[in-house]
């Protein structure tokens, strides 16, 4: 390999890339704009549900008598009880969020100390209606509890007798860590591996397509192969360009995530404090995945006959890289066994999660790095094989 040729190819590809608006949009602009926008919209959705719960919810009551519970509900500030003929239609059309159906003889049953039935009807399609049904249920449970307290008091029984044990559930926050930071880290352990891996693919993909099948389609590969540069040098220059694009994709996605923390802090709290060691390890792990992904994308792109074909081969990689993310999304990194770290890509996700939680396990780090390095070498050799194969280069 001639490093001067590698540099010439790399330099040219960078110049070409710098002038390619499509790549800038896909690798830089979209992550920076889309990620904050996505979290902002999620925040709006969550805010809306909170608003539904906080505001007086429009409901209808169906009751043949003016029972105490009905009076209680009418007076409750959490409800706006509306009178209407066709309550079902009003529910489906979103005029009311729930129908509270009070059974016959409810008041009589309560007085006789027999359970009275209340049914809460809600629209399953509407998230507002679902949230409102929960609110109605909680308020009716409060009423039920107040009736129970009155009964116990009337019998001269201390209500505390029904609750012999009081349980307090509290997350342990290690010394020096703040509560918000731990919460942020938990959120980040879901989001960060997903974003890091996804953007190694989406950041490098347009470049990989252009540098492999693009050369074939514009017929520039043959002149390039007839120069003094050997194939390995040309391949290395292209590979480094894709790797750089993938790294830029990852960096811009992280930048987007940081902006998301600012504009939608309630959804993506980012009050985190990572040490240099943690950041360094995450960078190394992500870089190794980017190296594997870049070589795989370059191989597939060289194999393809055209841009279109390369797009068909490369697009599924976004889904493929997400699969390990879903597999370990709810995996407990404190109890997971070491064997999991032998699985390529999946090990990188687990390691990033571990590192985020401050778990620095040298064995897991070693296994992950070793497996990834082996895969990097294998994928680069695969790309070299593909680029040297006549039947692939001149495949038509």
């Amino acid at each position: 390999m001639n490093f001067n040729h590698v540099w010439i190819v790399f330099k040219k590809e960078l110049l070409d890339l710098r002038r390619d608006k499509k790549t800038w949009i896909a690798s830089v602009l979209i992550p920076i704009l889309m990620i904050p926008l996505m979290f902002f919209l999620m925040g709006l959705g969550i805010g809306r549900i909170d608003q539904v719960i906080e505001e007086a919810t429009p409901v209808a009551i169906e009751s043949k008598e003016e029972a105490d519970v009905v009076k209680f509900l009418r007076k409750h500030p959490g409800f706006k009880v509306l009178e209407m003929q066709d309550t079902r239609k009003a529910l489906i059309e979103g005029e009311i969020m729930a129908i509270i159906v009070v059974s016959e003889n409810f008041q009589n049953n309560i007085e006789k100390q027999v359970a009275g039935n209340i049914k809460v009807l809600f629209d399953e399609v509407s998230s507002d209606s679902r949230a409102s049904a929960s609110k109605v249920r909680n308020i009716i449970e409060d009423y039920s509890e107040s009736v129970m307290l009155k009964r116990l008091t009337a019998l001269g029984i201390n209500p505390d007798i029904l609750q012999p044990v009081l349980i307090t559930r509290e997350a342990y926050i290690p010394e020096g860590a703040n509560e918000k930071g731990v919460e942020s880290m938990f959120m980040l352990s879901f989001m960060l591996p997903m974003f890091l891996l996804m953007y190694t693919v989406t950041g490098g993909m347009p470049v990989a397509i252009d540098l492999g099948s693009g050369e074939k389609e514009r017929m520039s590969l043959e002149p390039l192969l007839s120069t003094n540069a050997n194939r390995l040098s040309i391949l290395a220059g292209k590979y480094l360009t894709i790797l750089l694009a993938a790294a830029v994709g990852v960096l811009t996605s992280l930048f987007g995530l940081t902006i998301a923390g600012k504009v939608a802090g309630e959804v993506m709290p980012l009050e985190i404090n990572l040490s240099l060691l943690q950041i360094g390890l995450i960078v190394v792990v992500t870089l190794l995945v980017a190296m594997i992904v870049s070589a795989v994308m370059l191989s597939l792109s060289i194999f393809a006959r055209s841009y279109k074909e390369a797009g068909t081969y490369l697009s599924p990689l976004v889904v493929v890289i997400m699969i390990p993310n879903y597999i370990v999304m709810f995996t407990d990194v404190r109890t997971i066994s070491t064997e999991w770290f032998l699985v390529p890509v999946l090990n990188s996700i687990l390691l990033i999660k571990e590192i985020l939680f401050g778990i620095i396990n040298p064995l897991n780090i070693f296994i992950t790095v070793a497996v990834s390095v082996i895969l990097v070498i294998a994928s680069i050799f695969a790309a070299k094989y593909v680029f040297n194969k006549e039947s692939i280069i001149f495949r038509s």
């Binding site: 040219k12 070409d16 017929m219 043959e222 002149p223 192969l225 003094n228 050997n230 006549e390």
Partner: protein
Amino acid sequence: MIEVNGITKNFKEIKAVDKISFKVSNGEIVGLLGENGAGKTTTLRILATMLKPTVGSAVVNGKDVVKSPQNVRKEIGVLFGGESGIYDRLTARENIRYFAELNDMPKEKINPRIDYLSKIFNMGEYIDRKAGKFSKGMKQKVALARSIVHDPGVMLFDEPTSGLDVTAAREVHGFIKICKEEGKTIIFSSHSMQEVEKLCERVVIIHKGKIVEDAKLTELRDKYDKSLEDIFVGLVGDRNEL
């Protein structure tokens, strides 16, 4: 000097070239004639070290295309016809410079050489403009300049005037004549009999992977007493009927 010795190239069950042999002396321009799919491009690709022959060998200026491909590539300039393979987002100068650098030209010689080629091919107006909006003729001239920027001794041109207008084609012809005067060895593949008659001293006619004629133009005219086109159609047509 180019020597092709009994080269065969198989693509699975297809025999693209079949035991072909010919020589091109230093300073000679040889026309490689043949129909589409006759094996011209495969022959040129083997000489350009992009394909390895299944059987046989080829030597360019004393260097074997299989044993020392990189040394062969130092000796040659290659231009494949059809699409010119120019990078649209680079200027004409940047396109040419890229190839000059990959062919290890000394830095101080690159710009004067590009300026010289720009003058030869009348590219002065657009040499520093991005190639994306160039006409086919403009692109082909850039591709031609790119292929010979390092001043190789051997040039392999596969239909270099394909798709060019008359003026652009004449400029290419003019350049090939200059190369001839400079003593370059050239293989010139073309469909155009007129072009070959105008530029070449000798022709190699290839049909279905085999050489069916290899002679000087004057010898062919004496032998057949016909125009080159009639000779070509006669040779190829006769064999198509077989």
